[in-house]
Each structure stands twice: as C-alpha cells, then as structure tokens.
C-alpha cells in the first residue's frame, strides 16, 4: 500500500484535523501524524492457517510413483491420472488444482516431512506442542505467537500486533502473558462503531483526544489519548480499505475464504497487525480427523483450502501487497500410512507444511519421507517444526526466534528477503 498515514488522514478526514492541531497538540501526537507509519523495522505480515484434526499429508501431496503408496491405501488411493503432478514423484490431490497453479507461478512452497519430536499422537498433546513450541514443558502457559507479541511489546505501541480471525475459541498459540490478542470474524469487529445517520463519533473522538491537556505529567493519559486517536483513525482506515480493493476481489463461498478476505482487508488497512491466525476444520464440523470414510470429507476440505488460499493470493497480487505477506499452514500431525480398515486413517506424525506468498525462493523443500522406514506406522519427520517457526520469525518477521523458541533452530533458506 503506497499511501501514507498523512494521505489517509487528508482523505478520510477532509482537511487534516491532526495537522491543523499541530501548534497546540502534545509532541507525541504531532510525531505520529507526520512520521511515516513505519511501526517496526519491517512491515511483513505472517498468516498462519491451522488445519485442525490432523491432516493426511499422504493424500495431500501424493507420492504416486512409490508403489508403497498404492499398497498401503487400498480404498483411499487417489488415481494417478487425476493428480496434479508436481514432478515425476509427487502430485497434489485431485481437488487441489489451484495449489498446483500457485506452485507453478512461484507463489507456493511445500516443506516436506515436517513434524515434532516426542508427540504423543493425541490431538490435545500434539496441538499443544505446535502451539507452545515447547517440547520439554507441556504445561507451558504461553503460545509461540503469544511470546512473539509479548517480545515485540513496546510502551509506545498502540495497536494489537496479532489477531485471530475465526468463529472458534482462540488457539493457544496466541496466548500471551501481557498482550491482549483480539478474536474477530470481520474487519468491522475492530472498528469503533458508528450509529447510522448520526454525526461521526470517530472524528469527534479524535478531535477530543487531541485537545490539549494541562500537563499533569501523567503518562497514562497521554498513552490513552494516543490509543484513542489511533483506534478512531484505524476504524476509518479499515472502513476505507473495505470499500476499495478488497471488495472487488473474488473469494469462494467458504468460511476460510471469508476469513482470509478479512485478513486481506486488514493488511491493506495497514494498521500495524503483523500476525494473523485463521483456522480450517475445527468448531465441530468434522475437520481433518477422519478415522472412517475419509475420502469425501478430505476432498472437500482440501478443495476449500486450495481455493481459499488461491483467492487470497490472487487478491493480494493485484497491488503487490503479496510481497509483504507469507502464509503458512500446519496441522497437529499427519496420519498413518496404512488405512485402518474403515476407509480412514489414524493419528500419525510428519506431514507437509505449505507456504504461500510473493517472496518464496524454492518450490519444494526437503524430500518426501520414506513410506517404509516408519515410526509406529507413520511417516518420520525430517524437518523439526521449530525450524519452520524460526524461518518465519527470523527471516520473515524479523523477530528474535531464539528467544521465542528457547533455543537456536536453523532457519530454512527459502525466502528472498
């Protein structure tokens, strides 16, 4: 987004009330109005997509050339001719044509064989591991993204650095000690509401917050005034962003697509949110946990994932916003290589992680795990999930991954930043 905060204020508020106040306004307000809206060193954005229930990676990125695949999947085997082939070994699920196109265009990477050490193959235990990123302390009370936002906290920060978009309870990954991470469904949930037909409360709110106060040396009052100004300014920005680019983009009628549309609008509003979290499969609609009759449900979910992410990428491509966005999927575990006799699969281990964005360097990362060298019937992981976290924290967001992850995990060299 090329327009600056100043342009925005001119546009949305008519003559800039903030600047016309400059002689009387306290210096902190003047600074915020005239400085470029650069909140951190970078303006990159991470979008995490949680696939709840344990996604069957083997039927997502299919090793069709390996005879073991067909042998282990008598009823769930996907016909080779229907796969969207990536190379001579693997191909996408038949309903994931959109992902193949993204892959060919360089907007999608597949990190193969990602998993956790010591996961107990229970949904709760494995998900907790992915959320806390702490294999040694299952009781850890903060999530990896919660620690991230606590770590970038700064007394002058007036905006929420992370947001969960979705109808289910906020995933534990976002649990922070200090920072309040909002849970929303629509951009409007972050907007200070306005009674239709009444004079604009937001402009009035900004004007009153900016009125000079006799200096009582009260930092709390200054901070709340600054936040009030930003809350109302952001409200106008969000509304304005919703009316422009994002509204014209086509999204399929899926819940995930709707949430990604919300994310796109909030990225364009440029209100300082660096981390978004969305989810597919939770909230009692079946999800990826298919112990029986997996085929139909899994097809539908992968189609929703593929189409929704593709719509999001196409939307953001139009104005180069995609260059500062990285999307990352994960699921608590993959599934067993063999079917379980009920046309389903059981809890497994390693699975692929997808990355989507405008700054990817490599399409395929790592190699497909062996289908014969297994860990209790499931694929062994080759890439520790915390290396993926380290990659997005250090290389993409520019935060200190080592502090968040309690140790140094080697980042993957897959981004061009």
């Amino acid at each position: 987004m090329s327009y600056t905060r100043r342009d925005f204020l001119k546009g949305a508020l008519g003559a800039s009330t903030l600047l016309s106040f400059a002689p009387a306004a306290p210096s902190f307000l003047v600074r915020s109005a005239t400085a470029a809206p650069r909140r951190d060193d970078r303006n990159t954005v991470l979008v995490v997509v949680q696939l709840s229930g344990g996604n069957d990676g083997l039927n997502t990125v299919v090793p069709y050339a390996d005879d073991e695949y067909a042998r282990n999947r008598p009823t769930l085997r996907l016909p080779t001719e229907e796969l969207h082939k990536i190379d001579s070994l693997i191909g996408f699920h038949p309903r994931m044509g959109a992902f193949l196109q993204l892959y060919k265009d360089g907007f999608l990477s597949i990190v193969q064989g990602v998993g956790c050490p010591n996961q107990d193959r229970s949904h709760e235990g494995a998900m907790r591991l992915w959320h806390t990123a702490d294999a040694d302390h299952p009781n850890r009370q903060t999530g990896w993204l919660g620690r991230t936002v606590d770590g970038i906290r700064n007394p002058n920060r007036t905006y929420a650095p992370a947001v969960f978009v979705g109808p289910i309870a906020q995933p534990f990954a976002l649990n922070a000690k200090d920072v309040i991470v909002p849970s929303i469904r629509l951009p409007g949930d972050l907007v200070a509401a306005q009674i239709p037909g009444q004079p604009d409360d937001r402009s009035q709110g900004i004007r009153i917050a900016e009125l000079p106060r006799a200096n009582r040396d009260n930092p709390l009052l200054d901070f709340v005034r600054q936040c009030a100004t930003d809350a109302y300014t952001n409200s106008l920005r969000i509304e304005s962003a919703a009316q422009t680019m994002a509204n014209t983009a086509e999204y399929p009628p899926y819940g995930l697509a709707g949430h990604l549309r919300t994310v796109a609008q909030l990225i364009r509003a440029d209100i300082g949110i660096r981390i978004f979290f969305v989810e597919l499969g939770g909230g009692g609609i079946g999800g990826f946990d298919n112990h029986a009759n997996q085929m139909g449900n899994h097809c539908a979910l992968l189609h929703q994932l593929s189409e929704s992410v593709a719509a999001f990428v196409h939307d953001l491509r139009r104005d180069k916003t995609l260059d500062r966005v990285l999307l990352m999927t994960f699921s608590e575990f993959g599934r067993t290589v063999s079917e379980n006799g009920r046309r389903g699969t059981d809890h497994g281990a390693a699975a692929p992680v997808f990355l989507a964005g405008g700054k990817l360097r490599t399409g395929l990362v790592g190699s497909h795990p062996s289908l014969t060298d297994l860990d209790s019937g499931a694929l062994k992981f080759k890439i520790d999930f915390r290396r993926v976290y380290a990659t997005v924290l250090d290389r993409w967001l520019g935060f200190e991954g080592r502090t968040v992850l309690d140790g140094q995990f080697e980042a993957l060299d897959i981004l061009s930043v």
């Binding site: 299952p138 009781n139 009370q141 903060t142 007394p155 920060r157 007036t158 905006y159 929420a160 947001v163 649990n175 922070a176 000690k177 200090d178 920072v179 309040i180 909002p182 849970s183 972050l190 907007v191 200070a192 509401a193 009674i195 009444q198 409360d201 009035q204 709110g205 004007r207 009153i208 917050a209 009125l211 000079p212 106060r213 006799a214 009582r216 009260n218 930092p219 709390l220 009052l221 901070f223 709340v224 005034r225 936040c227 009030a228 930003d230 809350a231 109302y232 300014t233 952001n234 409200s235 209100i271």
Partner: protein, 487 residues
C-alpha cells in the same frame, strides 16, 4: 438560551479540579513514608470534595451512584472509608444467598462468570468484591484446565472468604485448593516424581517474587509437598507418597511438609514486600515503582499478622491515596470500565452478555491467561481494545440491543434534579468524572450536545424520546473520553 438559563437553578456545574490552593502539590511529600501513609485530613490546601469522593469510589468500589457521592461528601473521608471497609448491611447474608444462586443456577463456568459480575454490581460490600478480583488475578487460575465447575466455584469462594482477611490463611488454603493444583498440573505429587509446578508458582507468583528464591528452593519445596493428590476432584493425602527426608528451603533445614513451606515463605521479608508492592499498584498507582523506603513500613507491619484489611485500610486512608501521585494513575480494567457505567446509572444489565464482552476486551473472568494473572496497566489498552470499549459503552447505553436499554441517563439526571438539557449534560460529567476535565475539553464535550438543547424547545411529548436518545449519545461521549479509562 436565556429562557433555558432560568431553569439552571436546579442543577449547575462546570469544570472542576481536585481543588485546593495553588502549591498544594508542593506540600505533598509522596516519597516521605511518614507523610505518605499518615491519614489524610481535609484542609483548605487539600479539601474533601466531589473529585476525591469519586476517586475513592473508583478504587475501593466499582464507581458510585450519585447519592453515594453525595453521602460521601457530607460524611467526609473517615466515615466514608469506614463504610467501604465494613458496611452496615448484612454482607454475609447477601453472599450466602449468592453462593446458593451459584450452586443451584450455575451449571457452567460461563454462568459462574455472569453470577459473579451480578454480585459485583449488587453487593453491599463492593470493596470485598474488588479485592476478590485482585486475588483472582494474583492466584491466577484458568478454568479450562480445571474442568470442574464446582471446584472453580469453590476457588473463588475461597478467595472471597479471605479477600479482606488473612493472607496467611489464604496462602495455606490456596496450597490445598484442588482447582489451583489441577490448573498447574500439580495434582499428582509423587515421592518418586516431585512436581515443581506448584512450588515454583507459590514462590514466584504468589509470595516471594522473582529473584527471592533459587531453583534449589523450588526443588526442595516440591519434595516437601509430595503426597498431595487431587483424585476425582477431591484433595487427598497419601502418606506413602510423601518424602519424609530432610529438605533445605530458604536457609532452613528440616523434614518439612507442605505446611512448613507456606510457613517458611511467609517468614521471608520478601513476601510481605512483594505483596505490599502489588497492592500499591492496585490501590495507589501503577505509573511508578515505589521506593523501598515507602514500602518498608507497611511491609514490616503486614509481615506481623498478614492482616489484609488493615493494609488496605492504611492505603485507602492515606495522604498518598488522596494525592496527585495516585489520582488517575491507573488504567481501568475492563470490569471497572463497564461497571463504572452500570453503577453510575443505577441499572442492572445482562451480565451473561457482559462477561463475553469483557472477555473480548481481555478480561475473561475465571480464565486468567497465565499464572501471572492479568498484567494489566498499559496492556489493557491498544487501538483494538479501545475500539472495543467504545462499542461496549455504545451497546450498554443504547435504548435497544443486547443490553436492552436497561440504563437510562435521562431518568438518572431527572432523579437528581437535572432535567434541562444542559444541566443534565453537566450532571453526567459530574457523575462520571466529577467534572474534572481541562476547561477546553469540558467545553468541547459540552458542545457536542447542542442538539440536546435544540430538542428541549420542541413540543414536550415528541421531544421526550429524542431527548432521551441524545442524552444516551452524550453519555457515550463521556464514557469514551480518555480520562474515563483512568482511575
């Protein structure tokens, strides 16, 4: 305007301040413990007035109705604080009744949340609920990990039973509280595998504070606490799982039990100091870290008997509490923000809806984010939560919607004799902020209400509803002022 002016005799007001003569702040000696903790006596330099009464009710209660402020004005600070510390009403009967409601009507933690908010609004002893909320954040638990409504209910009852009682008893009881042990995953403390989670939380978050113990103390304390289990929601002691060996804890040596750990922790001066500091941030202010000299006399006294009421009383009566160093030196938590509106307008709203809205603002009762509680302060506020507060105030004050128009500023203004548009507007500024705004801000806020004046000249019946709506809108302007987010 001239016509209206004649009616102003009924209620008149303008911007106020904490008052006193110029130089009063110079006479304040907030860093001097002798001055700071001495009881505040009204004087011409530091008068007792509406602003001070409002400050007291925001901190020691959840805000005030207009008649409470007026009563406080005529009673003076001593009698008002007496009443806040121990009201004449039968508090025990009220709480018994509410305990029964909880037991019979609350089948889920969500319902418990709503009942607690209701209790906060209706209680004859708001300071007790305020302090229960303080301990709720101090002994932070999360019901999601406890998974038993009755245990969660009993946990908060335990906090309430000693909220103004003995910290010694509180710490002992908490150490045996099944909800606490389940939440911390300390519900199976085997001899062969001592669980350090409770011992660490006890020392780090509940008593001594960081830097006042070592990992060795934690390990040894965990051994002393072996033998304690929570089985099917019941606390159980299994003697053969207790490690009877000698432990070294904080410089003491013996074959200690869990009770000894609590005793030893309470014998450490750091415990009283840490608690006094925490209560200082809760009752006095959170903008500055108080000097050790300021904390020392209160901590020494607190360490003798761990009498919470006495400590709270000293702080509330103090010069420091009524000084510039405390005034508006805290950010309201979401509960204080919402209940300030509700109590000021003397209504009752759907607390089921309200608990959810407060959770969205970061204060989910019974669900503390970590064992460190709500760290609060500046963390309460960002541009998203402030937009959320704007929307919550709007919903509370609307004539319809989820809160169903249960609050009506016009009725309250009329009840206290402010029935003209301008006097009603000035009254509301007094009710919520005691008129304490910079003159320019006060005038600007008042000027947002010209439509109120216009409607008053319309025929009475058609203007009635319009006037009511305009006053709701004006109240919303007051509740979204930056100053209203401070306490």
């Amino acid at each position: 305007m001239a016509v209206l002016m004649n009616r102003f005799a009924e209620y008149q007001s303008g911007p106020r301040s904490r008052g006193g003569q110029v130089g009063a702040a110079v006479a304040d000696r907030p860093g001097d413990p002798g001055w700071a903790w001495a009881a505040y006596e009204p004087s011409t330099q530091r008068p007792w007035n509406l602003v001070q009464a409002g400050h007291l009710y925001r901190r020691a209660a959840f805000g005030a109705a207009w008649d409470e402020l007026q009563q406080a004005l005529s009673d003076g600070p001593q009698r008002t604080i007496d009443r806040l510390l121990s009201p004449q009403a039968d508090v025990a009967a009220f709480n018994r009744e509410h305990d029964e409601y909880e037991t019979s009507a609350a089948g889920s933690v969500d319902e418990l949340r709503a009942w607690w908010l209701r209790r906060m609004i209706q209680t004859p002893h708001p300071l007790l609920e305020k302090m229960t909320l303080f301990w709720h954040s101090h002994f932070a638990t999360n019901a999601a990990n406890v998974n038993d409504v009755r245990l969660v209910q009993r946990h908060v009852q335990l906090l309430r039973s000693q909220a103004l009682g003995s910290f010694r008893t509180l710490l002992q009881d908490i150490s045996r509280d099944p909800a606490m042990l389940l939440w911390l995953g300390a519900d199976a403390n085997r001899k062969a595998l001592p669980n350090e989670n409770y011992a660490r939380s006890l020392m780090d978050a509940f008593s001594l504070g960081p830097g006042n113990y070592t990992q060795k103390d934690v390990s040894e304390a965990a051994k002393a606490c072996t033998g304690w289990f929570v089985l099917r929601g019941q606390l159980r002691y299994i003697d053969r799982e207790h490690d009877g060996g000698v432990k070294h804890i904080l410089g003491q040596k013996g074959s200690f039990t869990c009770d000894d750990v609590v005793r030893i922790v309470l014998e450490q001066p750091a415990t009283a100091q840490t608690l006094v500091r925490k209560l200082y941030h809760f009752l006095i202010g959170e903008t500055e870290e108080p000097q050790a000299e300021l904390i020392a006399p209160l901590a020494e006294s607190f360490a003798k008997d761990y009498d919470i009421l006495k400590l709270v009383e000293t702080m509330l009566r103090s010069n420091l509490f009524f000084s510039e160093a405390a005034y508006r030196r805290r950010i309201k938590c979401p509960v204080e923000f919402a209940l300030g509106i509700v109590r000021g307008l003397e209504g009752m709203v759907s607390t089921t809806q309200l608990t959810q809205d407060l959770a969205n603002l970061g204060q989910n009762l019974y669900h503390l984010p970590t064992v460190n509680g709500w760290t609060g302060g500046l963390n309460w506020i960002n541009s998203a939560t402030l937009a959320g507060r704007h929307n919550l105030a709007l919903a509370l004050l609307q004539g319809s919607g989820p809160y169903g128009g249960k609050l009506n500023p016009l009725l309250i203004a009329r009840k206290y004799g402010a029935s003209t548009p301008e006097s009603a507007a000035r009254f509301l500024l007094d009710l919520f902020l005691q008129g304490d705004l910079d003159a320019g801000v006060y005038d600007a806020v008042l000027k947002t209400a010209p439509a109120i004046l216009a409607t008053a000249q319309a025929p009475a019946d058609s203007a009635g509803n319009e006037f009511e709506d305009r006053l709701r809108r004006f109240t919303h302007t007051v509740a979204t002022l930056p100053e209203f987010n401070l306490t």
